[in-house]
Amino acid sequence: MDKKRILIVDDEPTFTRMMQLVLEQSGRYVVRQENKGAQALAAARDFKPDLILLDVVMPDLDGGDVAAQIEADPLLKNTPIIFLTALVDEKESQGNAVKRGGYPFLGKLVSDNDLFKCIEDNLRQ
């Protein structure tokens, strides 16, 4: 079975590095990190991910703008996006991503189980 390709965009390199380690440790995914919002579109075009994990608050171009660019790209527009944010927590999401404006939102302190479940759910769609 081919490994799914996940692009993670977050301005915090240690976070993206950890995420990559955890996700790839499962053996199910290939992960690419991107720490600049402004370069997220180019990275996606290059990497052609099956799913994008996107930080909301970034200094140069925020997650909303990156999502808009992805939406506008004919090749990428159907790529599922999961927002990762420090402002949603597990208590609120109760393990499931909170839907806002059509996008799933996950807290950054989500447990491994919930993280993988959310990724799998969105990959299937």
Partner: protein, 544 residues
Amino acid sequence: MGAEPLRILQIEDSAAQARLLEEILRGAMDAPYELKWVDRLSAGLEHLEQSNFDLVLLDLGLPDSQGLNTFERLYARHPLSAVIVLSGLDDEGIALKALQAGAQDYLVKGQVDGRLLVRAIRYAVERKRVREMLTKERDLLEALIQSLPDQIYVKDAAGRFLRANGAVASFFNLATVDALYGKTDFDFFPHEMARPFHEEEQRIIGSGEPVINREACIADQSGGNHWMLTTKVPFRDHNGAIIGTVGINRDVTQMKMAEEELRRANTELARSEAELQKAVAELQKAHDELRAAQMQLVEVEKLQVVGRLAAGVAHEVKNPLAVTLRGIEYLSKSMVAKDEVVTTVLKDMNDAIRRADAVIRGMLDFAAPRQIEVRSEDVNAVIERALWLVKHDLDRRCITVNRWLEHDLPRCMIDLQKMEEVFINVMENAVHAMPAGGSLTVRTYARQLTGFGTNVGDSKVLRFKMGATVVIAEIEDTGIGIPPDKLSKIFDPFFTTKPTGQGTGLGLSVCKTIIELHGGAIDIRNRKEGGAQVAIMLKAERKE
């Protein structure tokens, strides 16, 4: 009179008669006297004009006047004089006429002796004094009655006027009081008005009971209404028998009008007082409301500051926690040999991160706009309420408000209190941007989305579905605008363009969070005309 000599004027054409009389008087008068003799009526009248005499002894047959005419001419000129006619004629008819005409006595020359003459003189003088006194009394009484402004009248048992003063005559529009005498109220008033007066007087005559201070409105001859205070008492003869009525009417119209005016003024005063009390109550209510609004604003501001601080701290702390957590999870899974101690350490670290997260969550729960309670609301009403809450600031800065609120705006599912906070925040930013006054324009309208790009700007964290109806609220100011290089940071926590101490730099970041919790969007841009425009886009409630 005592020491004063009695002054006697004798008008007698016969010198002999005059001398004879002087002789008689000298022999009989026991009191001092002065006697002046003239032989013509004209000379006598002249003397009476010039000085006072107590008595006139008058001969009727004089060269310039004859008979009773002589007396009448003198008496007409000097009605108060005491006159004794001394005549050569012993004519009872003339004597009687003279007495009836006012002479004190009639003596026949030749039949007069000293004793008779002196007595006649004394009686005449005494009667004159009494008459003078009575006349004075009568004149005083008359003057009193006539000079009083009240109407005073005496009527006989049939109600006919016997006496009245000028006030009565002028009430009936008569030139003199004489025109009243012999007439009754029926001659002056309509029958239905005169009758109760007449009946009242008949009751007084019958019972002897007076009527005191009866108040009634009476029309005068020219139709003017007068309020009259009437007192009527029985009029009795010297035996005590009731022979009529005496009345006094006082015109109290002015007083009544003054009373009425006073009553009206009192009513007016009472009403003014009530109105004043009402105004004070309203003022108090307005004051209380203002105070409540102020407290609410303070509370909102406090919560916002705490909330924004919490949100900022949470964001900054959660990222490193997340890194650590992912690292621990990675380590847990990559341990080949399950070392029990390492496993325990990693678990403890995981627990520690969860605890730190719980602390942050607790802080956020305290005030951050994390949970919204939505209900169907009218955005226009929310805006109106926010405008009302910032009215004080707007007024203080002389900022005029233009409202372009669309009628029939679709309702939105929103958290009333949180969205109110958003609008207050945005409006207060506008106020701060216009320190020297200006105008604040608030516009609402609904749009059906035809494409992704809307005039809500570039912030598209959240996507609205094509064809969806959105409610857009725009708040524009004519203030200083936002420096272009700062525009991209405007929603960052702790970012502010306001001078130190005037802004926390958290307002718009919280606003944005609240709006995004509603699935809406907010955008800020500088207007070409100057000032800034904030656009807020909310999903319209779907009509089922």
